[in-house]
Every structure is written in structure tokens, then in C-alpha cells.
């Protein structure tokens, strides 16, 4: 026998006036946990994939394509950060260093043992995952802010170690590698082929993120993010899952790092220091860590903004700061949240489903 539900009736019968009052709040709200209809998701995915695949044929030029490659491998790293921050709620400001672990592992394997792109990739990813887990060990004892400081320290330490690593790490000059070992009929020296290599990896990252998001594993991570104590009390092994997600994040970072290495063909410690790390944190917050396309949107904004607005590096840092403030104040869920809310408001789909735009109506 279900109990009588006064509150349900009250919520269901929200007045039109209250709806109007809440409309602005709804546009800026974070509604990542309310799924869009499957058809909309599929159409978005197909359109986006088509656009990304067609990009090299749009005649936008060499420079544009170079920035696009940078954007995509950065986005792959961001999907790891999106997973640990967006889903599990563990922020890192040393994520570039984790990409650096992958990049340097691959470069050192190439220089010392002559391993190519394909053979060194699994080792580099595995090492990034292990390092991610080891840095994560302190999070089991301390809260989120402390972990952020730990990641920052790791980042600084990593650069110091690389800079003083002698010929093994190439010191401040860094290391060089050859091009990606060609597959039959595909030579990755050609820029567009390199683009498709990175794009394929991005699709893998997107697919993995999507599958994790809708899986029981994703729900478990969100439970930990939302209420650690309650998560434990329903039987979730919080410590194990935290370490696990940091290792998965490390896998993504390692993949991104190796792609970065083989695109640039030369890496040096400054690529993986404090500023690149902070940019990654900025991108994931700007785009919206909890949304499937949030990290990609963040990467596009940060990588293309200086190009589109013709900003020099100093100006662009100021612009990023302003963007971040605006997003935190107006769109706590990131740009992706804003896009989703605008779509929902236009389509009115959620009202019809009876949950209100995001259940707050």
C-alpha cells in the first residue's frame, strides 16, 4: 500500500507564475543528470561526427587543421579530467603532467628502445594510469582541496625531474621522435591523416565517456561525487572507485600525451607544467565537465579563441580569465549546460515529459 503523497501533488501542480519566475534560473541550471531524448542524442552525435570527419576537406587551411589537431588531443586528455571531475568530483590542476607522463614514456621508449607509436602506446597509457592512481592515494585520506594541491605539486615536481633528467629526458631541450609508424596505405606525415588518427582516438574517448556515463559504474561515480557518506552506506567501496577513476583518467591522459608527442614530434618540460595544467582545468570547467560534449567544447573555445579574436598570449590569458568568471557566475554547469538548457527551453520537451525542465518546475 503506497503512502498518500501530498508533496507530489503539490510539486506537480506548480503554478504558471512560479514557472515564469524560474525560467531564467532554469536556463542557467546544471541539469546534466536529466537525459535528452535518444533521438536528439543520436542526431547530435551524427552531425558532430560528420562535421569533424569533413573538416580537412572544408579548405580551411593548414593552420586551422593544426589547431584542430591540438584541440582534439587536448580534448582526449580532458575527457579523463571530465570523468574524474565531472562524474566523481575529483578536480586536478596537474593534469598536463599526467599527459606528460604518457608523452615522455613514449618518447623515452622510442629513443632508448626504438619502439614506435603503436608499440609504445599501451605502455605509455598504462604508466599514466599507474601514476594517476599513485597520485590519487592521498585523496583517500584527505578531501578534494588537498588533492588539488597535491596534483599541483606533482606537476611542479614532474617538470623539475624532466629538466634535470640529463640525456635520458633530454633536460630542458626535451626529446624528439620520428613520425607515426605508417599503416598499410596510410602515411601519417600527411597532416590530414594525422588529424584522422587523433579524431579516431577522440571518438574512442567520446564512446568510452558515453558508455561510462550511462553505466552502473558511472552512476556509482556520481553517487560518490554527490554524497560520499551515503554512497558508503549503500555499499559502494568509495576508496576503490576513487582510485579506479583516477587510473581511467590516467589512461585518457596517456593516450592524449602520446598523440601530442607524435603530432609535435618534439616535447619539452614546459609543455606539461603549471600553465598547461591550469588551462586544462579551465577548459573542462568552461565547457562543462558533466556533459558528454563539455570537454570538447571547452577545448575548442580555449584553442580557437586567440585565433578567432587575434589575441596575443598575454591578452588571451586575460580573455580566458574573463570567460572563466562569466561561466562560473552565469553558467555553473559550463557552456554545454547553457546549450542544453537553451535547447530544452526551445523544444519544451521536458515539460511534456512531466518532470519540468529539470525537475525543479
Amino acid at each position: 500500500m503506497p503512502m498518500t503523497d501530498n508533496s507530489a501533488a503539490k510539486t506537480g501542480a506548480a503554478t504558471e507564475g512560479a514557472r515564469a519566475r524560474d525560467r531564467l534560473a532554469l536556463l542557467t541550471a546544471d541539469n546534466a543528470s536529466v537525459p535528452l531524448p535518444a533521438g536528439v542524442q543520436a542526431v547530435t552525435a551524427i552531425l558532430l561526427a560528420a562535421l569533424l570527419i569533413a573538416l580537412p576537406w572544408l579548405g580551411l587551411g593548414y593552420r586551422f587543421l593544426s589547431i584542430a589537431i591540438t584541440t582534439l588531443y587536448t580534448a582526449i586528455g580532458l575527457y579523463g579530467l571530465g570523468l574524474q571531475f565531472g562524474q566523481a568530483g575529483i578536480m586536478s590542476v596537474g593534469h598536463a603532467a599526467l599527459m606528460g607522463v604518457g608523452a615522455y614514456a613514449s618518447a623515452i621508449l622510442s629513443v632508448q628502445l626504438g619502439l614506435g607509436f603503436w608499440t609504445s602506446l599501451p605502455f605509455a597509457m598504462a604508466l599514466s594510469a599507474i601514476v594517476g592512481g599513485v597520485i590519487g592515494l592521498p585523496t583517500l585520506r584527505v578531501g578534494g582541496q588537498h588533492y588539488i594541491i597535491i596534483t599541483f605539486c606533482f606537476c611542479a615536481l614532474f617538470v623539475i625531474v624532466l629538466t634535470n633528467g640529463g640525456t635520458f629526458t633530454g633536460s630542458a631541450t626535451g626529446l624528439d621522435v620520428g613520425s607515426v609508424t605508417p599503416l598499410p596505405g596510410i602515411n601519417f606525415d600527411k597532416l590530414s591523416n594525422n588529424y584522422y588518427l587523433v579524431l579516431a582516438a577522440l571518438f574512442l574517448a567520446l564512446a568510452a565517456t558515453y558508455l561510462i556515463g550511462i553505466s552502473r559504474y558511472g552512476r556509482t561515480l556520481r553517487a560518490i561525487r554527490e554524497n560520499e557518506q551515503l554512497a558508503r552506506s549503500v555499499g559502494i567501496n568509495v576508496d576503490l572507485h576513487k582510485l579506479g577513476v583516477l587510473m581511467v583518467s590516467g589512461l585518457f591522459a596517456g593516450l592524449a600525451g602520446v598523440l601530442q608527442l607524435y603530432y609535435l614530434r618534439h616535447i619539452s618540460p614546459t609543455l606539461f607544467g603549471a600553465f598547461p595544467s591550469l588551462y586544462l582545468a579551465l577548459m573542462v570547467m568552461l565547457g562543462g565537465a558533466r556533459y558528454l560534449y563539455g570537454p570538447l567544447i571547452g577545448a575548442v573555445i580555449v584553442n580557437f579563441l586567440p585565433e578567432v579574436l587575434n589575441l596575443d598570449p598575454v591578452d588571451s590569458r586575460i580573455a580566458y580569465g574573463v570567460c572563466l568568471l562569466l561561466v562560473i557566475l552565469l553558467l555553473p554547469g559550463g557552456v554545454a549546460a547553457g546549450i542544453k538548457n537553451i535547447y530544452c527551453a526551445l523544444a519544451g520537451g521536458f515539460d511534456r515529459q512531466g518532470g519540468g525542465l529539470n525537475g525543479r518546475a
Binding site: 503523497d5 543528470s33 556520481r222 554527490e226 551515503l230 558508503r232 552506506s233 549503500v234 525543479r360
Partner: protein, 242 residues
């Protein structure tokens, strides 16, 4: 042998002795109430039994296994589940997702619920499935807390002040749901201050004061106990004078 056996349980926070050697036997076929003044150790008892805080001394055993200090998530997986005094949820997620998370954890070794939706039906939250938990009114949030705990397929449910903050009709509706649990094989042990509700709902009452058990038995008997009356009403002046 009772399902939950607590022997000589002690908990100290620095110099404060919150639990001073508690012995309890709780079975899963009835409703047991724990009462006592504020600070008597009721919530601490739940926290130590369910592994939220480590015990300073004593043992807790559940279905014959020692579960003292084995960790909160392992205890929950053994189907000894608790709710919290502050109505807790995963606030940023939908009601559906809240219950599904618990249900998926409780599914290991078979759930008593075929789907999370059954739990929402049972507590009367089905119409609010798509709502964000953090936006629920308080009464619904309390019910969600119960739904999440039930999702784990508990054999014994420890409810920490499930009626706190509810109005009379909400509290009565809540009591009606709780009363349905023992016949379905879900034992209930609850803390509450509402003596009318407790004496109606509980088969047995346990009274705590300063971290020790001062009385135990059927509600009518316990509430007539002079020691219990003294704790609740203050020392009897006439008795003190004579």
C-alpha cells in the same frame, strides 16, 4: 541467537564517553525502538554499528559474523542498512537515479525488488521519479532516504529519526510504511522522540542515557519504569525529600 548482537560496545570521542558498554540483541522480525534524551548515544550507536565511526571497544556481530570496524560499505553489503538523521540523498541526481544506485548495489546476491521502480511505488515517490533530489520538499526527501536504504535490500534497517521535521500527517503516513516492513522480512530498529508513535509502532523499546542502556522491554512497561521517567521528567522531588 539474535541477528544483530552488540556486546560491551564502547565509543569515546576524546574524553567524552558516548557509548559506555552497550549490550543489544535485535531480531529482524519486529520493530525495535531506541529512545533517550539528546546526547544519550543513540545516533553514535548507529554510527558505530554501521561502521561510520570505529568502535573504541566491544563487538558487533551480524548473522553470526563479527562486523566490528570492517567498514561502512562492507556492512551495507551484508544487508544491514541505515538512514541518516539529516535526510540524505544524492542531491544533484534524479530520484530515479538515487534509488537505482542503491538498488544496483543491493542486487549482488539477489534483490528483493525486481526493479528500482517498485521501491518508488512502495514509498509513494513514483510520480517524482524525474525530479532532482535536491529540489524535493522535505517530506519527499525523507521518503527518498528510506527508498535509497530499502534499495540495498536490507534485512535490518536502522532508521535514525525518520519522523524528524515531518508534520503529523506525514509522520503517520511514514509510520504506516515502516509498520509494513517486518512482515516482509525487513527488521526495523528506529530512533525517534515521538513517544506516541514509538509506543504504537514498536514491539520493544530500548532506553539509553549517557551511553548506557537503562531499560528494555515492551513499550508500556518501559515507559512506566521509574528510571525512565526520571531521565525524561527529571528526578522525582518527593522521592528525593523523603
Amino acid at each position: 541467537m539474535a541477528a544483530l548482537e552488540v556486546r560491551g560496545l564502547r565509543k569515546q570521542f576524546g574524553g567524552v564517553v558516548a557509548l559506555n558498554g552497550i549490550d543489544l540483541d535485535i531480531d529482524t522480525d519486529r520493530v525495535v525502538g531506541i529512545v533517550g534524551p539528546n546526547g544519550s548515544g543513540k545516533t553514535t550507536l548507529f554510527n558505530v554499528v554501521t561502521g561510520v565511526h570505529p568502535a573504541t571497544g566491544g563487538t558487533v556481530s551480524w548473522q553470526g559474523q563479527d562486523i566490528t570496524n570492517i567498514g561502512a560499505h562492507r556492512i551495507a553489503r551484508k544487508r544491514l542498512v541505515r538512514t541518516f538523521q539529516q535526510a540524505m540523498s544524492f542531491p544533484g541526481l534524479t530520484v530515479d537515479e538515487n534509488v537505482r544506485i542503491a538498488w544496483e548495489q543491493g542486487r549482488r546476491g539477489g534483490s528483493r525488488w525486481a526493479s528500482p521502480g517498485m521501491i518508488l511505488d512502495f514509498v509513494g515517490l513514483a510520480p517524482l521519479g524525474k525530479a532532482i533530489a535536491g529540489s524535493l520538499p522535505f517530506g519527499s526527501l525523507r521518503r527518498l532516504g528510506l527508498a535509497v536504504a530499502l534499495g540495498v535490500s536490507p534485512e535490518l534497517l536502522l532508521l535514525d529519526e525518520p519522523g524528524a521535521g515531518l508534520n503529523d500527517s506525514e509522520a503517520q503516513a511514514f509510520a504506516a510504511v515502516i509498520a509494513q516492513l517486518p512482515p516482509q522480512g525487513i527488521g526495523v530498529c528506529l530512533i525517534d522522540h515521538d513517544m506516541d508513535m514509538m509506543s504504537e509502532l514498536c514491539d520493544r523499546l530500548i532506553v539509553l542515557d549517557f551511553g548506557t542502556k537503562i531499560a528494555e522491554g515492551p513499550p508500556a512497561e518501559v515507559l512506566a519504569d521509574p528510571k525512565v521517567r526520571e531521565v525524561y521528567l527529571g528526578p522525582d522531588k518527593k522521592a528525593a525529600l523523603s
